[in-house]
């Protein structure tokens, strides 16, 4: 009896050992390692550098408001915002602790609140009531609300020019001081914590990655395209609800966002959710769900590419295209929220479960 048991165990070990030689084994830890060092930290480093430069350019502009410094600041705003689109889907851990997502990109921005803050010259920007008066959307308003001359006027001879200058640099300074510690934690102890949480429970890194990834997909579908194009309002378009309404760069940001989301799925050149899916799938599967999702990402990218800046115009003049993009992102979401979620068995609550 003992001999037989021993034989069985030996057999099992030989079987698994053989398998190891055939193909590289996937495990969540390897995926998390790649996501941290290959995707998230590089994205955060790039964004951190850009945010620091953004603040410098804001100081340059406020010290000497000219068309040149304004153009410089705007260019830096655009590149910082574009880089942020590759960070927003990792809104957990340090990023969540510092409330980066809400502080950086809550739109539409509340221009009345911004103006009243400037007039008053006194505000606590960190409170939730000011979430709609800070971050990229507020910068978008301050730097693009009118012609160059009108804007420079507001920062020079206008009676509230001093307050406006302070408000602008307060915004960039806030972003800079908040983003740096997030990066520091990622390059420091959080990376280890992140990789160590390699289970499939609700507090695991996989659960965080998947949930925030899906949430950002939904945000792209609803907030960036759906709501402005009237999906929530019976077809009545809401142009002022687009992201980056004043600069009119919403489409460019949306395009960057879908690219960032795809990287969040594939893990770039390294191990990502796509490899996880392939590992779970049977070897004889005809169309891998991973390929299916990747090609759906490409369809979405293509549908967003054919939209035009400013999106606030395009949703009216080019409604069919906006709607097509909306529907394709929805299809992507169906794959991610049903097929992928089901296959990976990553939990969303602590509740006991007997599978019924």
């Amino acid at each position: 009896m003992k001999k037989i048991t021993l034989l069985i165990f030996a057999g099992i070990f030989i079987l698994t050992a053989c398998k190891k030689d055939e193909e590289p084994e996937f495990d969540r830890e390897a995926m998390l390692t790649n996501m941290a060092s290959g995707v998230i930290i590089p994205a955060y480093q790039a964004e951190n550098g850009a945010v620091i430069l953004l603040h410098t350019k804001a100081i340059d502009f406020t010290t000497n408001p000219t068309t040149t410094t304004l153009a410089d600041l705007r260019a830096q705003y655009v590149s910082t915002n574009l880089l942020y689109q590759r960070c927003s889907m990792y809104n957990f851990g340090p990023s969540l602790d510092y409330g980066i997502k809400a502080a950086f990109n809550t739109f539409p921005t509340d221009t009345t609140k911004i103006e009243s803050n400037i007039s008053l010259g006194s505000y606590t920007l960190g409170t939730t009531t000011h979430a709609t008066a800070i971050g990229f959307p507020a910068l978008d308003y301050l730097l693009y609300f009118g012609t160059d001359a009108e804007i420079i006027l507001k920062f020079t001879t206008d009676s509230e020019a001093t307050n406006r200058k302070i408000y602008l640099t307060d915004l960039t300074s806030k972003m800079k001081t908040e983003f740096q510690p997030v990066l520091n934690q990622w390059t420091g102890s959080y990376q280890t914590t992140f990789i160590a949480a390699n289970g499939n429970d609700v507090a695991s890194s996989c659960s965080y990655l998947l949930n925030e990834f899906v949430k950002d997909c939904e945000l792209l579908k609803n907030a960036r395209i759906g709501i402005p194009s009237g999906q929530q309002t019976g077809g009545l378009t809401m142009p002022e609800y687009v992201e980056a309404y004043f600069s009119g760069l919403s489409k460019s940001f949306a395009l960057e966002q879908i690219t960032g989301l795809k990287t969040a799925f594939t893990g770039g050149p390294g191990i990502g959710f796509d490899d996880y899916i392939r590992d779970v799938e049977s070897d004889d599967v005809t169309l891998s769900l991973a390929d299916n999702i990747i090609s759906q990402f490409d369809v979405c990218t293509q549908k967003i590419t054919v939209l035009n800046n400013p999106l606030s115009n395009d949703i009216t003049t080019n409604f069919a295209a906006a709607n097509a993009a909306y529907l394709e992102i929805k299809k992507l979401l169906v794959y991610c929220k049903t097929d992928m979620t089901s296959m990976l068995g990553i939990l969303i609550t602590y509740q006991d479960n007997d599978g019924d």
Partner: protein, 463 residues
């Protein structure tokens, strides 16, 4: 004695007296386990998460009338539940405690079907049976204080009905596994075992297809046969060892909570009376109490109540044997429509995940508003609702009420919903199949009655 007459006599000698220690042992075990499980529930903050946090609750069919308690009352109820488990454990005011526990536990379960679990239903049934069993006639505070006469023996049916209930759980769970997803595709185990791949040593093994098939087939055979091995004196100790291994494995691999412990405890009823006695003696030793009672020879059953007992047992047994088969009254795939799915011992059979988008529509179709489900439901509620048709209808009815005569502002635009319709577009994936449309947007779900008729508003299931 021939084999048949042997079976006959063992099946029908319901009133033969057997040692009372088995019931006392069971009472203590059940009380202790329920005490632990209630405290665990409280400690996990689930009273808040499951009952206080949600704005809206999914009532069970036919039970929408039960009043919903506020937070204070709810915590008071849970305190009473803790007390009742202690009462059962000690055999102190046993009958009152048993009634209280059954009523409270079942009431709490009936508050919201989001948290439905087969093992909660099992606990409710055992609690119901315990009310009628003389589990406090031996080694209890009730006998110590003389509230109830001490008795060395109890009629065989009191233990037999518990064994029957456990047999029902296993055998029906086994029958439910006799279907193609489980046996031919090893689903959902193929996916679920994969989630445990980070375990050292055998983690890699759990990814193998043959392991999923082995677990599926073994689980099915185990469920179908384990009771018979537990019933046979020769094999029962080995069978119990298998029970422990089986449930500990599921406990390690799946987020299954107290269920394994409930079953590991529940099956002790099959072990020898000697063992139950030894445990009681051991506990008695802890309290340094000798058994010094004059045992009454009067059975707790009044002679003229035998007919009533037979009748009640018959009704209970008949219900247990037929209720899980009610799905046969419906057309369509059981996993897809879920008609007759609950209360049928279908455990670990489905990996079903859905994505549900709900829309409020003005009846004149002037406006359509997409609902953010998280504004109304907890994550768990949303997850459960997204795959369960009756919950979809309940949610739709709730939304209609919520949005009736409501004005929504979007910037400077406002929309008033006078007689809102509720539409939904829902996609579902079942046991590894690609996701497919579950509910088409064309239906006004608020106009569909949530009743027991066929759910033909669901899309056709594609294999």
């Amino acid at each position: 004695m021939t084999a048949i007459s042997k079976i006959k006599s063992s099946l029908f000698d319901w009133h033969r007296e057997i040692p009372a220690s088995t019931l006392a042992f069971y009472r203590i075990g059940f009380g202790a386990l329920m005490l632990f499980s209630t405290i665990r529930f409280l400690a996990n903050g689930w009273v808040h998460d499951f009952y206080i946090a949600p704005k809206f609750h999914f009532s069970y069919f036919g039970f929408d009338w039960i009043p919903f308690p506020n937070a204070t009352v709810l915590y008071f109820i849970f305190a009473m539940m803790v007390l009742s488990t202690i009462g059962i454990l000690l055999g102190f005011f046993y009958r009152i405690s048993a009634v209280a526990f059954f009523v409270i536990f079942t009431y709490v379960e009936l508050l919201d079907k989001t948290t439905y679990l087969n093992h909660y239903y099992f606990v409710s049934l055992i609690a119901l049976l315990m009310i009628f069993l003389p589990a406090n006639r031996f080694f209890s505070l009730d006998t110590y204080f003389g509230f109830t006469p001490h008795q060395k023996t109890v009629p065989k049916w009191t233990v037999g009905i518990l064994k029957f209930q456990i047999a029902i759980v296993y055998i029906f769970a086994g029958i439910a596994k006799l279907e193609s997803d489980w046996l031919l595709n090893a689903q959902p185990l193929k996916y679920w075992l994969h989630t445990a791949h980070h375990f050292p040593l055998f983690g890699e093994l759990l990814k193998e297809d043959w392991v999923a098939y082995f677990f599926s087939w073994f689980g099915c055979v185990y469920d179908l046969l384990i009771v018979f091995f537990l019933l046979t004196i020769k094999t029962r100790n080995f069978a119990y060892f298998v029970v422990i291994i089986f449930h500990l494995t599921t406990w390690m691999l799946f987020p299954i909570g107290v269920f394994p412990w409930v079953m590991i405890f529940a099956t002790t009823i099959f072990l020898s009376e000697n063992l139950h006695n030894k445990v009681i003696d051991f506990l008695r030793g802890l309290f340094k109490k000798e058994n010094q009672f004059n045992d009454t020879s009067i059975s707790f059953v009044k002679p003229n109540s035998k007919k009533l007992i037979h009748f009640l047992l018959g009704v209970f047994i008949l219900f247990q044997l037929t209720f899980p088969f009610r799905y046969l009254l419906y057309s369509g795939n059981l996993f897809w429509t879920e008609q007759g799915y609950r209360f049928s011992w279908r455990v670990m059979l489905m990996e079903k995940t859905g994505y549900a988008e709900f829309y409020i529509r003005d009846s004149e179709r002037l406006a359509e508003h997409k609902i953010n489900n998280t504004d109304h439901l907890t994550r768990l509620q949303e997850k459960m609702m997204s795959t369960q048709p009756d919950m979809m209808l309940q949610y739709a009815a709730y939304l209609q009420k919520e949005y009736k005569d409501t004005t929504i502002f979007f910037g400077t635009n406002e929309f008033t919903f006078k007689n809102p319709e509720v539409h939904a577009e829902i996609y579902v994936t079942l046991n590894g199949r690609p996701s497919q449309l579950y509910v088409d947007k064309k239906h006004n779900l608020a106009a569909i009655k949530n009743d027991l008729s066929n759910r033909n508003w669901l899309e056709e299931f594609k294999e």
